[in-house]
Amino acid sequence: MAALRSLLSVGKNAVPVLLRREFHGTAPATLQVTVRDSLNRALDEELERDEKVFLLGEEVAQFDGAYKVSRGLWKKYGDRRVIDTPISEMGFAGIAVGAAMAGLRPICEFMTFNFAMQAIDQIINSAAKTYYMSGGMVPVPIVFRGPNGAAAGVAAQHSQCFAAWYGHCPGLKVVSPWSSEDARGLLKAAVRDENPVIVLENELLYGVAFELSEEAQSKDFVVPLGKAKIERQGNRITLVSHSRMVGICLEAATVLAKEGIECEVINLRSIRPLDIAAIEQSVMKTNHLVTVEGGWPMFGVGAEICAQIMEGSAFNYLDSPVVRVTGTDIPMPYARIFEENTQPQVKDIIVSVKKTLNLKT
């Protein structure tokens, strides 16, 4: 039955891996798929599903994507659906928003979100606010996607995390995938959503492989926006994170487990809407909370979580104040020793957990 289902779920756009597996008879239902490939397949499926969807951005077509996320799509869909733009972020973001206002469903790629700052007026003032300003007359079904946050050795102008900036604005939805399942499901949900959605990918995650369940491989698999996922059950302390830091939290949790400290690791998946209920529920169980993010501390995702936890029902369940683990409050330096100490590492999470639990570090 499982084999039959997996055969049925294989569409004509299945990645070569799946086809190879068919030759070996009954294949295991789960696959190891990189984040890059899962984004690629999600884009392919959405372009195929809805003729109104199209992808534009720098190098997305003939270069196969600056990070190869859109590999093969131009060859398959051609100039009308996959469009190389000139280096004109403000211009092409505005064009994409206008196309969305007129009823199309653009996916606007920024080579990194650092460059989206040039277009941020179109994202906020044209995309995010128009449905409200028009009293519900003009929806803007657009997706802005691209790598966000720190990479490796690319220094200050190419390493900023924009989760807090976009998360601040009503009218936007903001997602930040970690695993291949997240990437695929959130991107598909974003394309199908009728509102402007920011998809904050991460360059360092593109090459990382994750298990993709059979269910996650299906063409209509979507991850609901605004819902967090518990990646690891625990009862001693809650770690909340998004994007690449989820992986670092899980590593820290493995180390702490050896000392008998069982961490519950929550993968936010969405920055806006923020699934505060999932965090509260966990805190009511563990009584301790540490937030972990790559972005700067001031006015960040962790700061927002602290504020909401304090205002909500979970406050009374806290046995100690919430602690934030964040990027160091400096522009990203280049030298490796500096860079390493500018992003949270496993040891930083461990220290923060132990301090929160009043244990010797």
Partner: protein, 389 residues
Amino acid sequence: MLVISTALRSSATKSAARGLAVSRNYADFASEATFETKKCDCFLLETLPPTTAVLTREQGLSYYKTMQTIRRMELKADQLYKQKIIRGFCHLYDGQEACCVGIEAALKHEDHLITSYRDHAFTFTRGVPVKHVLAELTGRRSGCAKGKGGSMHMYTRNFYGGNGIVGAQIPLGAGVAWACKYNGTGGVCVAMHGDGAANQGQIFETYNMAALWKLPCIFICENNRYGMGTSVERAAASTDYYKRGEFIPGLRLDGMDVLCVREATKFAAEYCRAGKGPILLELQTYRFHGHSMSDPGVSYRTREEIQEVKRTSDPISLLKEKMVNSNLASVEELKDIDVAVRKEIEEAAQFATTDAEPPMEDIANHIYYKEPPFEVRGCHPWIKYKSVC
């Protein structure tokens, strides 16, 4: 087109009713007349719009009524603003009526338009009744954006505002044109901007992409000589705005002559529909009011200049003169239209000032489209609004 034909129908009935009272009837008027229009300055074009235009009596009455309606609507907005019934920003269009009416007269049902914050007139010609424009200005529930947008954010079918950020509407307009091309509708998008906005970088980015991808976009610069308080000479290294497209053909024409604007827009629309790519029009026009209601408009230009333009180039007077001199209409008939328009505007203003404010239940609606209901935080944690649509 819908607005103009509606306006026309209502003016025809009124004239018929007065047929008994006035000394002349339809048989005395010419059914159409041909007028000469000033030759356009051109850039990268081998053919030009014609220098004659035919105006039928029907069209003339319709353009006249529409322009007069816009004029009175804007003057009413001025009045309401001074009474503090309209708040915030209010950028008025009086003096520029021939641009908006001429453009609309050349467009088809499948065409689109986007403009800046000086948008009340376009909102009307694109199909929103005056009372809903005024009610939006007064922030009432029957405002065309339910009171949520205000002066700078009015929308309707095939009309994308109303945009507050100078120049941002140009890439948006090119995006709408993209959609026209993508869907193969044969429609064009008219993207308006002013002489001030013409210096925005995003406009040049858009010109490049529109030309590269041959988007059916008519870029129109309404050059009213002043970007807020800065004259064109003080803001621009080159004031030949119709040449700003560099590789995009351009026309510069008299924006005070509704027929000139109509013919040039028709020409431009045909150009785009033929798949030749974008085109740029510069309409030389003038705003009688200051930049906005907080600007008296006389610190950077002289009262004499304003009076001179009003005396010699008022677009409504110019049309009236044309029509009366070629026997397309009588002075009395046009006066009757004036009276009817004033009455209409008074009624609309009455509506806009007495309509209820939007209900508080609506405050958090229209954040997301097609979303299940969710809660929105108010000013403190104990205020929660419901967002249901």
